[in-house]
């Protein structure tokens, strides 16, 4: 009898663990960003030609102090980047009147300028986009993958980092937070 109770208890515990493993969903492997709450690292990003008449040959973060920024990192090989791109562009058109500026940073994509240009044309980006050819900006921003998006307030502080594709809700919520 005693042995039976032990066996039932062991099976119950193991079965419970098994069911927990089955239904707990994918583990959250995101590592909290060290940058949230800190000043966004400065960078100078060479821009694609089509943006140069309006934004200059390069985009410098330090030259945009006081402007709320949405910094989006993407690569031409990344499918989720394709998925979120239309959302980014429509959000930019919707919120730019509130003074927010978007910046697209093509990263982890060394030398893929043609792919970058076709990506930009495909989605008709109106905000400045440039190439982080040696991924140094990406490393400075401690990227794990692409896409990742940083929301920077008027004081130049990173208030939120989105890992993975953006959603309309996240965009609206975080833009509200940085334009305050």
């Amino acid at each position: 009898m005693r042995r039976l109770i032990t066996v039932v208890a062991v099976v119950a515990v193991l079965g419970g663990l098994f069911l927990y493993g089955l239904f707990r969903g994918p583990p959250n492997r995101d590592v909290p960003s060290q940058l949230v709450g800190k000043p966004a690292p400065d960078f100078t990003l060479p821009l694609y030609t089509r943006f140069q008449s309006r934004f200059g040959s390069s985009f410098s973060l330090s030259a945009h102090k006081g402007t709320p920024l949405v910094i989006n990192f993407w690569a031409s090989w990344c499918n989720p980047c394709f998925e979120e791109a239309p959302l980014l562009e429509s959000a930019y058109r919707q919120y730019r009147s509130q003074g927010v500026l978007f910046v697209g940073v093509q990263t982890q994509d060394r030398g893929q300028y043609d792919a970058g240009r076709s990506f930009i044309s495909r989605f008709g980006f109106d905000f400045p986009v440039g190439m982080d050819n040696d991924s140094s900006i990406g490393v400075n921003y401690a990227l794990f993958g692409v896409p990742e998006t940083f929301f920077v307030d008027r004081q130049g502080i990173v208030v939120y980092k989105q890992v993975g594709p953006l959603t309309q809700a996240v965009l609206a919520r975080e833009i509200e937070a940085i334009v305050k």
Partner: protein, 232 residues
């Protein structure tokens, strides 16, 4: 040591590029690693083209002994154009081959590849790891120490980027627990051996009642034996 340099291509086999739709090239790297293990077990060649540009242990050993690797990466990026007409970007885009010293490799081996599963920056073929190796080399060339370079990465990625947890705070547990477990196990074993030895010297403990019962039984049997002898 700094003369010993090895060559790696930053965006060569690019498992990251194969990982379309994943967003993070880690899964592609894992697949590539699985394929490599399976192929090596089956004795198959891993590639049909030129030698793999990924860092290999053999190349590292060469670098350690001071021989120079002559492998150069392809110049796939050399035809790339720049956004606008930035000559600096053009120059960097053509530099597909990245040379890193054994010292840079040793530092990279301590850092975790951000997009891989259980792979170091030194061993990973992911593009971001190649760029990080280059960044380490640049910082070494600029005269920075290993501690400064490690600090640069931990400042950005946190302690997560270190493959070995730092020997401080709660991380100390990782270092101390195995030692404590070993000591505890050895102590437990010593106690057991001591108990076994003592038991062997004194013999097993005897129950007084059982001893009395055995004595009584023996006396009875002896008595019965004597009676039967007398009868005979």
């Amino acid at each position: 040591m700094s003369a010993a340099r090895r060559t790696a291509r930053p965006n060569a086999p690019a498992p990251a590029r194969e990982g379309q739709g994943v967003g993070r090239p880690g899964a592609a790297v894992l697949r590539a690693a699985t394929f490599a293990v399976a192929a090596s077990l089956a004795g198959l060649p891993l590639h049909a083209g030129p030698a793999p540009a990924r860092p290999t242990l053999a190349a590292f050993a060469q670098a350690q002994t001071g021989t120079t690797s002559a492998t150069t990466g392809s110049t796939a990026g050399s035809t790339a154009t720049t956004p606008g007409s930035n000559p600096a970007a053009a120059a960097s885009s053509s530099g597909a081959a990245v040379e890193i010293s054994s010292r840079a490799y040793a530092i990279a081996a301590k850092l975790r590849c951000p997009v891989c599963t259980a792979e170091s920056v030194a061993d990973s073929g992911a593009e971001i790891s190649a760029e990080m190796r280059q960044l380490i080399q640049q910082q070494l060339d600029a005269g920075k120490s290993e501690a400064q370079i490690i600090h640069y990465f931990t400042q950005r990625y946190g302690d997560w980027i270190l493959l070995d947890p730092p020997k401080r705070g709660v991380h100390l547990l990782v270092w101390l627990l195995p030692v404590l477990a070993l000591l505890g196990g050895a102590g437990g074993l010593a106690l057991l051996v001591r108990r076994w030895r003592a038991a062997a010297e004194t013999g097993p403990p005897v129950d007084a009642a059982a001893l009395e019962r055995v004595r009584r039984e023996l006396d009875e049997r002896l008595a019965r034996a004597r009676e039967s002898e007398e009868r005979d």
